[in-house]
Amino acid sequence: MNAVIIDKLKARFGEQSIRVSEFRGELTLVVPKDHIVGICRFLKEDAELKFDLLADVCGIDMNTAEKRFGVIYNLYSLSNKFRLRLKTFTEEEDPKVPTVTGVWGTANWHERETFDMFGIVFEGHPDLRRVYMPEEFEHYPLRKDFPLMGIPGSIPLPKNK
């Protein structure tokens, strides 16, 4: 299965675009963010692969100068009972990744959560609001530079009337 996926993607999107790694039997593909929507749509709609369930989307802060933020997509194929992980990276200044809500509807809340926690903006998302933190909150809690104790005063208390 691994070889089939890699061959198909390389034939379609070019040899250079995909970096493959494997750990504990799980396949991870690092892809450029410009191709993410195309690759996702291809993986979902290909008659053989059929990754029809998007299990999870999450962000990661690599805390590196270059390509600091990553977005991780955990896909699942109901018919092949197979998992695949896609990763894409974006820069620290003005992090932006195209949205995959057009491919899987479930990406909507997952991407909102990633935006809430890391400040990664999903371009083209229909409803990019914070999901856990209050709307007026200005920080991104899961970034590595956000302290575990929180920032005093960052969540305003309700005013006494």
Binding site: D52, L53, A55, D61, N74, K81, N108, R130, P141, K159
Partner: protein, 418 residues
């Protein structure tokens, strides 16, 4: 006056999301008046702190925006500052109706990362506690759904059974509610034979009690009219919205991780995956009732097959040593000191491990950079994802059905809000 405009601008994003929704719902007898109703977060029928903003035409729901996050405790941030062992008690507080399942799911994920496996006896016990927790969660579902649509007796009966389960959990783990029972590579302590006898007695009697509840509900006209054809979601919509667990199986999709990618010893056990076609609240009720029977079947097999032996894997640098050996052996003392202070140090890598929790797919994604703390730990909580399909389910229903639909979806906010 100024504070009022401030409040309005604060709310505007949620309201805007509601107003932006496609409200082209066709239903009989529209009144063409528009009303916005705020349900929750402090509403007994929303199962915790779930807030819904609902747009109504008369009594019919034309749009809905769920708002979560009132119970957000930042577990993913906490996890980055805990060793792998220290995070186990936090998993109890995710889906607090089935903490045993969360414990098992988390330790399985860490074990996959470390590349170790618990010994057979521990695996059988993990299956048993997972299925007990599934029954416990489904009994809660049964009671609360029945209460949401107006039948209080079932709630009492379901809670009587859950009480017995809490006694069992107390005997197994030493705690009724927050069990923290599993350890990386094993379990906190072994299960005593008298506890196994308690479990055997409990599952023997449970079938009869389930039948009692079903007698009250399955032919009850009020219950059927409140759930039959209510909150329908189609197969394709459910897959698109990432619905998992009983909700997905009620749409006729044969997806159960215990069968699809068997973990623990599920492949040696004989059980079926109940499927229903309706995709409505009633089908979700039927699926869960059938799943309880399957769980009873699994537990009975576990009680027959459970092997004797050790409950800890022999991996001195990964698994906490036994207390009696720490006090008497130098090697074990060193390992205990290293594991407690610096954590088990997994290799650099990333894994995603999921189990079939009572609510759906509970997954843990762990990115390790080789230290004793996870660099990133993501909890894929089924309740959070399942809630996303709520707007689809409630569109076109009556306002009173919203309560029944939330009940049939069975979200737990501790898990949805993390």
């Amino acid at each position: 006056m100024e504070t009022r405009t401030e409040e309005v601008s604060k709310k505007s994003k949620i309201l805007q999301a509601l107003e932006d929704q496609n409200t082209s719902v066709t239903f009989e007898d529209p009144l063409e008046n528009d009303m916005i109703l705020n349900m929750g977060p402090q509403h007994p029928a929303t199962h915790g702190v779930l807030r819904l903003l609902i747009r109504l035409d008369g009594e019919t729901v034309v749009g809905c925006v769920p708002e979560v996050g009132y119970l957000h405790r930042g577990y993913e941030k906490l996890a980055e500052n805990c060793t792998y062992h220290e995070f186990i008690p936090h998993t109890d507080r995710l889906d607090y109706l089935s903490p045993m399942n969360n414990n098992t799911a988390y330790t399985l994920a860490v074990e996959k990362l470390l590349g170790i496996e618990a010994p057979p006896r521990a695996q059988y016990i993990r299956v048993m506690i997972s299925e007990l927790a599934r029954i416990s969660s489904h009994l809660m579902f049964l009671g609360s759904l029945a209460m949401d649509v107006g039948a209080l007796t079932v709630w009492m009966w379901a809670f009587r059974e859950r009480e017995k389960q809490y006694d069992i959990f107390e005997n197994i783990a030493g705690a009724r509610f927050t069990t923290s029972y599993t350890r990386i590579g094993g379990l906190a302590q072994d299960v005593r034979p008298e506890t196994l006898a308690m479990v055997a007695k409990f599952v023997d009697e449970l079938t009869g009690h389930i039948v009692e509840c079903e007698k009250l509900l399955n032919t009850n006209r009020i219950f059927l009219e409140r759930t039959d054809g209510i909150g329908v979601i189609t197969r394709d919509q459910a897959i698109d919205l990432g619905l998992t667990g009983p909700g997905l199986r009620a749409c006729g999709v044969d997806h159960d991780l215990r069968k699809a990618s068997p973990y623990l010893v599920y492949k040696d056990l004989d059980f079926d995956v109940p499927l229903y076609e309706g995709g409505d609240a009633l089908a979700r009720y039927y699926v869960r009732m059938a799943e309880m029977r399957e769980s009873i079947k699994i537990i009975k097999q576990v009680l027959e097959k459970i092997p004797s032996g050790d409950i800890h894997a022999f991996k001195p640098k990964k698994v906490l040593p036994r207390k009696d050996r720490i006090y008497t052996k130098m090697e074990e003392l060193i390992h205990d000191f290293m594991i407690v202070n610096f954590g088990v140090e997994p290799p650099v890598g990333e894994i995603y491990s999921a189990v079939e929790a009572p609510k759906g797919e509970l997954g843990f994604y762990i990115y390790s950079n080789g230290e004793g703390y996870p660099w990133r730990l993501k909890i894929r909580s089924p309740s959070f994802v399942n809630l996303q399909s709520l707007p689809t389910m409630v569109r076109g229903c009556m306002i009173s059905d919203v309560v029944a639909i939330i009940g049939s979806l069975d979200p737990v906010m501790g898990e949805a809000d993390k």
